[in-house]
């Protein structure tokens, strides 16, 4: 071991080389949510509190429906990427792998359910 230089010991032990894509995905979804979140809060806020008929009529309109669908898609992608960092910080080994798989299942299941519901109401 004492014949290895510091550099040789460090080579290959660095980044996983995929961090940049994650960082960029986080930026893109953040900027998109910056627009979508206020739109969703105020459209959903308008619909909430209405009767069944009012809610069905409101979400049959293209604008609120498309805003809600986009918010679900981008919001749950952003959540998935964000919560991945939380898990990587605190959970390690096999438990980390299982947690990340479960996280992906929850994020995409919720995303698909939300989009399905909007589509069914709107169409």
């Amino acid at each position: 071991m004492r014949y290895l230089t510091d550099r040789k010991k460090a080579v290959g032990m660095g980044s996983a080389k995929t961090g940049t894509a994650h960082f960029w995905a986080m930026k893109v979804s953040s900027v998109a949510l910056l627009l979508l979140v206020p739109l969703f809060v105020f459209t959903f806020g308008c619909a909430l509190g209405g009767t069944y008929e009012e809610v069905m009529a409101y979400y049959s309109r293209p604008f609120p429906a498309i805003v809600a669908a986009l918010t679900f898609i981008i919001g749950f992608k952003h959540f998935n990427d964000g919560a991945q960092v939380l898990i990587e910080d605190y959970v390690h080994g096999m438990a980390q792998k299982i947690s990340l798989i479960l996280l992906t299942c929850i994020s995409y299941a919720a995303m698909a359910t939300g989009v399905f519901a909007i589509a069914k109401i709107a169409l």
Binding site: R2, D6, K9, A10, K27, S30, V31, L33, L34, V37, V41, F42, F44, G45, C46, L48, G49, Y52, V55, M56, Y59, A68, F72, G75, F76, F79, G82, A83, L86, I106, A110, T113, G114, F116, A117, I118, K120, I121
Partner: protein
């Protein structure tokens, strides 16, 4: 023992048989030294970004459930809608809005920081207060408007 000689060795130049990659391995305090750090605005606003972002899953699942119920039947809608518009649902929605605006403003701060802007302490503190106060103001506005 090893850590002591490594530390003194570090300041006095390179010693034989000592290398940077192994200094103190496994026997050093872990960042961010939570047990010895005084809570500061910067650390509190940082962890709140994490807490709000991840806790928003609960709000998001609540809302998806409401939409699924609406897409299923009037009876199911009335069940989900009853829960979300109850006092308990109102409480959840109130804290969701507060957490969402906090996380949004903290997110904007991160997007600014990513350009290496505002990383000095005075600016970081100003933005920290802006995020905290701004999220309360936006929450009040949202409650008033809706």
């Amino acid at each position: 023992m090893a850590e002591k000689s490594a530390m003194t060795g570090g300041s006095k130049g390179t010693l034989k048989g000592f290398d940077m990659a192994d200094v103190n391995r496994g026997n050093r305090p872990l960042s961010p030294h939570l047990s010895i750090y005084r809570p500061q605005l910067t650390s509190i606003t940082s962890i709140l970004t994490r807490i709000t972002g991840n806790a928003l899953l609960i709000s998001a699942l609540f809302i998806v459930w409401w939409f699924l119920a609406a897409a299923t039947s009037e009876e199911y809608f009335n069940v989900a809608n009853g829960v979300i518009t109850s006092w308990f649902g109102d409480l959840v929605m109130f804290f969701s809005v507060l957490g969402l605006w906090y996380h949004t403003l903290a997110g904007i701060r991160h997007l600014i920081w990513d350009n290496a802007i505002g990383l000095d302490l005075p600016t970081a503190y100003k933005m920290g207060y802006a995020v905290l106060i701004g999220s309360v103001v936006l929450t009040v506005l949202t409650v008033v408007i809706l």
